[in-house]
């Protein structure tokens, strides 16, 4: 029996299929886009095709992420807080704090020794502190989002950037460029700003070792370095930081099956019908 997790995030959709030994046998990542209600079906079909599995071989399908309600073939919808915690715990059993920096939100999750979520915090109605902040500024700088991290590691004089508002930060970056600041120094300043905001938020939970950073932010070495500077010790990142939510969803499905729960017999691999 296999178990699938599908995480429809604000910018990326992720699917993970695990076997009964909790090994990942398939992972897929694709952009969510505006028509994410169709995408769930597409990526699930693709994941099945790549693994050679048929839909009926999936013991449980759990959907998570903000688009989780648009996965009609899922047996259960579970919040990303729970799924991230479960996924990260599977990869790093000693984790106590998860910092997830996603496309349009960031969150902190505190786990106890048993791996149970005891507290969490989410960013508050603001893009500053999320991947969107970096996207906007990368565009202003005229560089690729994926280059931000590499460039920031070359910084010599980090430029201070405000972390209170993405729009103001964009304006500030334009001013700094006009003043002759170097792009690597600005990139490092951005990471300092975002790390400062996110770590301050997570501090409300009480930061304890081990800290694991996930989401798109964890793929940015400059941002991870800045986070380490703020928390004061090295943090951990998964091999593929985007899939921890989907992995957690798949493992939660396995947990449900282990408890003897059976998936819905009526489920069909089909998309939502109310979206044209």
């Amino acid at each position: 029996m296999n178990f699938a997790g599908i995480d429809i995030g604000s910018t990326m959709t992720k699917v993970v299929i695990v076997d009964e030994q909790e090994n990942i046998i398939q992972e897929l990542i694709g952009p969510t886009g505006a028509e994410h209600r169709h995408l769930a079906l597409t990526v699930m079909k693709e994941a099945l095709e790549k693994t050679g599995l048929i839909f009926e071989q999936l013991g449980f399908i759990v959907a998570t992420g903000y688009g989780r309600i648009n996965v009609p073939f899922a047996d259960k919808q579970i919040t990303e807080i729970t799924c991230h915690a479960r996924g990260v715990r599977a990869l790093f059993p000693s984790v106590r704090i998860v910092i997830d920096i996603g496309g349009q939100d960031s969150k902190g999750i505190k786990l106890n020794q048993e791996g149970r979520v005891v507290n969490f915090v989410m960013n508050d109605k603001c893009a500053a502190g999320t991947g969107r902040f970096l996207e906007v500024i990368a565009e202003t700088l005229g560089i690729e989002l994926t280059d931000l991290g590499r460039l920031s590691l070359q910084a010599e004089n980090i430029v201070q950037i405000s972390n209170t508002c993405t729009v103001f930060a964009e304006h500030e970056v334009t001013s700094r460029l006009a003043e002759g600041a170097k792009i690597p120094d600005i990139c490092a300043g951005l990471h300092e700003a975002i790390a400062g905001r996110v770590v301050n938020m997570v501090r409300t939970l009480g930061i304890e070792k081990e800290v694991v950073v996930t989401g798109g932010g964890a793929k940015n070495p400059g941002l991870v370095k800045a986070i380490e500077g703020k928390v004061g010790f090295p943090v951990l990142t998964p091999p593929e930081p985007l899939i921890t939510g989907a992995l957690g969803a798949a493992l939660t499905g396995k947990d449900l099956a282990d408890k003897g729960l059976a998936p819905d017999q009526e489920r069909r691999l089909e998309g939502v019908t109310f979206f044209k």
């Binding site: 903000y66 579970i78 919040t79 990303e80 807080i81 729970t82 106890n112 149970r116 979520v117 005891v118 507290n119 969490f120 915090v121 989410m122 508050d124 109605k125 409300t204 009480g206």
Partner: protein, 434 residues
């Protein structure tokens, strides 16, 4: 133009008693208008100022400006007052109760009369303004600022807040005497304004009524320890109205007697708020979001009920010593005992009376999770929340969450974010129950 249905802001209530509150709120403002036509004095007041029974004894009709702000929010008619205050230069981070009040006063002055369709007929111009230092500084700064819009005489009293780590036996006499002097100053001011001396027998009577109402209120809350929950927190945030705004009246006593009877009946017959109660939540602190009270019902749709609250329920009953024979001294003693009720317990344990109270509630009400509401513009109830939450985490492994918006300013609220957070909180409680 097509008329739009007003947005639903209120929550479905669990008790008949709570459903009676709307009429009582309307009556607050109606009675203020009527009082002035009868030659009585109407006073702007602040909650928890400890002076309620004095006003009732002197026939002064209280006009609670904070309540009016909450009323405007529940009616989703706050923007014009908030905007007016901000136009006048008041910052958006200033207490939004104060901004609504000041905006209302400013607009009333500018229009030369009541703003059109003001909720519940609007607040009449007060004859007297009575501030205090109880709870927060806008309680006297707000009323000080009212001088821009009216000429009513203003008086503010200090309300004691003895520190936790003091030796209560050593400081008691000083605080009681200090509070008594504060009340005496207020009484002298009110006697001058009304032209009538305070009748101390009448004050004893209003104190008796005030204490009895609060005792009954406490009794109803103790009944709420029963499982399943029969009276949810949205009801509490209604029944607080007679406790605070009718304090010192027979009406409040009668109301709370009815409430006790109803809660008792519901407990005996297990008339639950939700049929399948899964999670019992403590409203740990922060002013309620008056603009979106239906969020309580949203929780209930998942079997989660707010069963008790640590907000707008500041004081358990206290026993003032028998040797106190003067009603003004009694009020001073009562204030001292109220504000130090958990000091000794705190000194012996966490060092924090708020944490002690919440820990007591967690145990007594068999709580599954603790909810806090951080209000952007309420420093008094928001600053320290995270500290409280973290301290609680040392003594309890319950899931806790802090939601952010404001008590009345809708601009600080995001429905999508709240719903996302609600589901995460429900998950956390479910995970602990496994």
């Amino acid at each position: 133009m097509e008329e739009r249905e007003p947005a639903k802001t209120t929550a479905t209530k669990g008790t008949d008693a709570a459903r009676k509150i709307r009429a009582m709120v309307k009556n607050i403002y109606k009675s203020c208008h009527e009082a002035q036509s009868q030659g009585k004095k109407v006073a702007y007041i602040m909650v928890s100022s400890q002076y309620d029974e004095i006003l009732r004894a002197m026939d002064i009709v209280p006009l609670p400006t904070e309540n009016y702000a909450g009323l405007c929010a529940a009616k989703r008619d706050m923007d014009r007052f908030l905007t007016k205050a901000e136009e006048d230069g008041y910052s958006q981070v200033l207490c939004s109760y104060a901004r609504i009040g000041l905006g209302f006063d400013s607009l009333r002055k500018e229009l030369g009369g009541m703003p059109e369709n003001a909720p519940d007929g609007g607040m009449p111009l007060p004859d007297i303004i009575l501030g205090s230092s109880g709870v927060c500084d806008p309680r006297f700064k707000w009323f000080q600022a009212c001088g821009r819009f009216m000429t009513a005489p203003t008086y503010s009293i200090d309300v004691m807040h003895p520190p936790v780590h003091c030796d209560l036996n050593a400081v008691r006499d000083h605080y009681v005497q200090y509070q008594k002097v504060q009340f005496e100053g207020l009484i002298a001011f009110l006697e001058k304004q009304t032209g009538k001396p305070l009748n101390k027998d009448r004050l004893w009577e209003t104190i008796r009524l005030g204490d009895e109402a609060w005792r009954l209120w406490y009794e109803s809350d103790r009944l709420r320890t029963a499982k399943p929950c029969v009276m949810p927190s949205q009801d509490h945030f209604n029944v607080m109205v007679p406790a605070y705004y009718y304090s010192g009246t027979q009406e409040a006593v009668d109301y709370f007697q009815d409430l006790v009877d109803e809660v008792k009946y519901k407990v005996e017959n297990k008339l639950a708020v939700v049929p399948d109660e899964k999670y019992r939540i403590l409203y740990g602190g922060g002013l309620p979001p008056w603009h979106t009270m239906w969020f309580f019902n949203y929780f209930e749709s998942f079997g989660a009920v707010f069963v008790i609250e640590n907000q707008y329920r500041g004081f358990d009953p206290v026993e003032v010593p028998d040797h106190v024979k003067d009603p003004v001294e009694y009020l001073a003693w009562r204030a001292f005992l109220r504000y130090t009720a958990r000091h000794e317990q705190a000194k012996a344990n966490s060092g924090n009376p708020v944490v002690e109270k919440i820990l007591d509630l967690i145990q007594d009400y068999d709580i599954d999770g603790v909810f806090f509401h951080a209000c952007r513009s309420c420093r008094a109830t928001t600053i320290g929340q995270i500290h409280t939450k973290n301290m609680l985490g040392r003594y309890s492994d319950l899931p806790m969450t802090q939601f952010v918006s404001d008590m009345v300013d809708l601009r600080d609220y995001s429905e999508a974010q709240w719903k996302a957070q609600i589901h995460a909180f429900l998950d956390a409680m479910a995970s602990r129950k496994k």
